[in-house]
């Protein structure tokens, strides 16, 4: 603990002197002052400040979920951190509106001065991706190089170290795998569930038949897709099929975790599952928000520089477009709805089980 000699002021507390000294336009340094470069700098600096906050939240969540088992009261806290991340990402996405007030012509004034620096060099953004659990093998390659090639040596560890620690994905998988209520001693939930699925798919077949009675080509196409759906369900219920799907990269969660997530989605109204259900929902929202950010970022870049090379000397636009969908971490959760049943078909939980999922108080 350091002692203060002066009373704390707003400016000294926020270190405004230092903070507001970090904006150094290249165009000013080179004597060709371009007004909008300040906007470019400030926008990216606020991005980085928010990224720091996102990392701060992720670290808190990772600490909570590193404990096994995670205490129920701490799941609520992890949820609050995750929801804050979504709120931050929404503001970060909104900042693109500000960048878009810079016209392409104004950007041209200083664009070349920034080479070869590039947004691909944001070590904090890479760290966020890695802490969430983006897999190296799933990353698109950029300029035929691994992503860290773009980073200056001094910043690589910030981005790369999280790759070697358990990610949020890993922690969520472990937490789900440990959920005790998925196995029901005397009650074979998953068998009942499977019967219901079969009944539902039979119903879908009928709907398709009715809708496309007069269009044989469409009928055939739809039935083929239904058959594919049936095969997808098999991958959920049959451990071997699930393992195959996982090996093929179509699933990433372990089988245990996947079933727990499905169970939570189906019985989310049970008191013990309310907070876990929200947590799964917010993970999907984070993925969605990051995709949306990538999408809007790509739109903005393409409008700003057309088909010219990016400031990093990259053919960035194509790369950006492809990351929008590819760089998703919780795709498994995103797709859970494929396997849901309407509540009306949902097998009722046995009394004893339902009681276990309630509060001690109520017993």
């Amino acid at each position: 603990m350091t002692d203060r000699t002066e009373p704390l002021s707003y400016g000294s507390y926020l270190r405004l002197k230092e903070l507001l000294d970090c904006q150094r336009p290249e165009s000013a340094r080179l004597g060709k002052r371009a007004h909008d470069e300040m906007l470019f700098i400030v926008t990216h600096q606020t991005y980085e400040l928010w990224f720091k906050q996102v990392l701060h939240e992720l670290d808190a969540i990772l600490a909570i979920m590193a404990v096994a088992p995670v205490a129920e009261r701490d799941v609520g806290r992890a949820l609050a951190h995750l929801e804050r991340i979504v709120t931050i990402l929404r503001v970060v996405i909104g900042q693109i509106d500000i960048l878009e007030t810079m016209t392409p012509l104004d950007f041209l004034e200083f664009r070349d001065l920034l080479a070869p620096s590039s947004g691909f060099q944001s070590a904090q953004f890479r760290a966020i991706e890695n802490k969430l659990g983006m897999q190296r093998g799933r990353r698109l390659r950029y300029n035929e190089s691994p992503y860290e090639a773009a980073l200056p040596e001094s910043e690589r560890s910030r981005a790369l170290d999280p790759e070697h620690a358990p990610s949020l994905f890993d922690r969520v998988d472990a937490w789900l795998s440990r959920m005790p209520f998925v196995r029901f001693r005397d009650f074979d939930f998953w068998r009942v569930y499977r019967d219901q699925v079969e009944a539902m798919l039979a119903g879908d077949a009928e709907v398709i038949g009715r809708s496309h009675a007069d269009n044989p080509a469409a009928l055939a196409a739809q039935l083929a897709q239904l058959e594919a759906t049936r095969r997808e369900f098999a991958t959920v219920f049959l451990p071997d099929e699930y393992a195959k799907a996982r090996q093929a990269g179509l699933r990433r969660l372990t089988h245990e975790a996947f079933l727990a997530a499905l169970m939570i989605s189906l019985y989310r109204d049970e008191p013990i599952l309310q907070t876990p259900f929200r947590l799964l929902t917010v993970l999907v929202e984070i993925d969605e928000a990051l995709s949306l950010w990538r999408y809007r970022h790509m739109q903005m870049v393409s409008r700003m520089i057309g088909s010219k090379i990016g400031t990093g000397g990259s053919s960035g636009q194509d790369y950006l477009r492809r990351t929008v969908d590819a760089h998703r971490v919780f795709a498994d959760l995103f797709n859970l709805s494929t396997y849901l049943l309407p509540r009306s078909r949902l097998p009722a939980l046995p009394q004893a089980v339902a009681r276990e999922l309630g509060f001690a108080w109520a017993r």
Copy 2:
């Protein structure tokens, strides 16, 4: 003019009795009341009300721009209508947040009851696309059928008729083509411009060389792309090349219109070009907003139904994903920035020309 017997009230003016009687959940009709179906109905009805308003604005713009030449004072009015459309689309996009409060499980409760109706059947949305100028040939096919196949016969004309009238795209093209200031009697603007482009591309080549000196593969890739850029510039300056690009579907504006749009972007500070520049910008924003709407809609559908068939019996998700980028109308404007020059390289306008672009008052 009808006479009123009673004083106007808020309720009678807005026809609230009729309006609030239009929500008829199928689940209620069939005795399986699903709470969230009301949300589904209300959200789509508000979409349709906003679509009606967008069409109202588009009709006003089309009327203004049907006159040749369009009076300068009316360009300002057209701009205000276009800006309103953007504001409406932002709210429409925001409504997806509301739909996302419906969980997949809740949607399942009534999803099957809606078959075979489908959002693909929104005649007003098709009319908006057609009035903006979406080309039939550019539309992705859905279930191997033209889009109107999905529409009930009674609503086809609403969607299809605008296809046969001049669209906003057509009107903008004609308005741009007529811009008088593109031709400068004694001043060969485009020749000077071309020289500057050549100088700039030479500079880019140097930047690339510097950035990738130690990475021959990246260097080659970047240089190849620069060469492609050079060829793209040729398509702008050489009428024959432009014609070829247009025939190949890479351009849609006429050559005259394209050059005028480029000119406006370059000299947007001239008084006479300020409003036209905003108008071009807003056209891009409309395209961007519609793309964003499609993107978020696709995200939402995919989260809601996973890989199951849509309510229209469609494998809608893939279709939706592909329309995001494909169904763009003003792609030419979106890409204008490819051909811009930094202000510092911009040829100065001759005095006489500059005066013509100012106000009568100032002469």
Copy 3:
């Protein structure tokens, strides 16, 4: 159940024919077509559609909370309905951006034609206020008349009936009052809490002394306010003081309910309190969103019509400005933070109590 003769289509399902026939501009009827009147109508109609949805959600919540005691699993469902209301209100607030694209001059074109109808006549909005629990006695009077005087007779019951049924406020009060964990058999929580409060206020006094050592006037003012804070705390702990504050209109919740709400805020991390804490938070957000809506609405009206009379013949602006703060329902919850203690000062819960607040599973 009625039978359908035709397959459901998007248009027939949404009753688009009827819905899109409800826009009848007065200016058109009177032969002085004003373009922007359509915007005015559509915006208000979408408001009313969303109000209908908010009422639909409120009814679902009221049904859930009418049961005593409310099952824990249903609290989660009530919460989801409330969160949806907040999301809807955010879009409703955003719609003001659309209305603001109408300039005052354009509004003037048809404003007089609408007299004497007025937004004060929205029966659904009054019903929302009443279902939330706005008290007749707290409403500001408008034109010296009770609010229903502005409503046409045919719509009064829609607005007024909810006044005579238990409101959300009433249900929340009852639900809080029944919370069992507020009384701790052997553990006098509130005594410990009070001791801590005293300690904290003593600390605040010291802070104030330090901050204003050289400014006696400010020092006196701050100390007087601290004394007021101390008296406010007394109103929480002493039933007689609480009763007095309630009689004076400074509190509305019963004492039992107020203490439960405070308890929930303090121990929100306990599993059994996580969902109740969110529910209280969302109630505050609803109040906040409605205040924000009133604030922006007032700003917009004032910008639109200056100090002229409103369409209802009202001097509406002043009235609107005063309702912003006055028409709040859950002010008690809004002010809870006055009585919080830092976690570090929070008395630890006895083991036995903490266990009761957890899940059956974990015992």
Copy 4:
């Protein structure tokens, strides 16, 4: 121009090392780490970065408008800077959503550590207010002291210096006062206008009579207000009355400027007035956005700390509430709509005048 020895990287360009070293939580320094203090710091630092950008834009605008007369082409540029400020303020307002993810209990953890620093000490925010043109005499006093008393000596000049330079308000007033088209040689515009106003007020009187025929008290109240409106119009047309209103603090613009602003609002479709009209509109939007920011800020503070003292030892909430409406700069423009006439009553401009307001090209 300094030489670089290393190629520019994203991190060195943005000075990320320094920027990300400016977050120094007091709670960490004192060994009582409070997780949410980082959020508090980052949010306020992003505010300050955006404030710096707003000042950067204001400086550009002030430079443009310091020239007399302002060239038409530069008015377009000033407009773009102002619109950017509005876009930035919208993001700044949206950041309150992030702060609100911090619960009152979490804020309590570190609130006392920050004393006596306070948001009232933001020198940049004061500078923004002063550059816009807030008048010292109009500022509410806080703790009985002028606002600069709260600022540390080292930061006072940043906040205070702009008070002594011409503000945006001053520049706008001068720019409006110089507008040449307000005086029409042979055409007494304002006399015609006044006649129309009289006719309109007579119409309003009739509307009021009709609406309140059966409510004498309301009728009297409305008529009294109409009379007040008539007197308000007098203040516009009669220089002496205007001078009195100005002396009483009800107007701030000079008479010349006020009439020019009214003229621009009435004839905004004329080519030469399109950009000035947008500029006036955006000034109102800036005032509106700042008011909204103050309003939401006040809501948030009140929710966060209840009626306790602020971190600056202030009874800040009341102060904040009162600044919402009081600290407005362009109130004159906000109220312009009081004096508008429907287009249908608007006197037509003489040919010669209309031609002057068009483009040279068209003559």
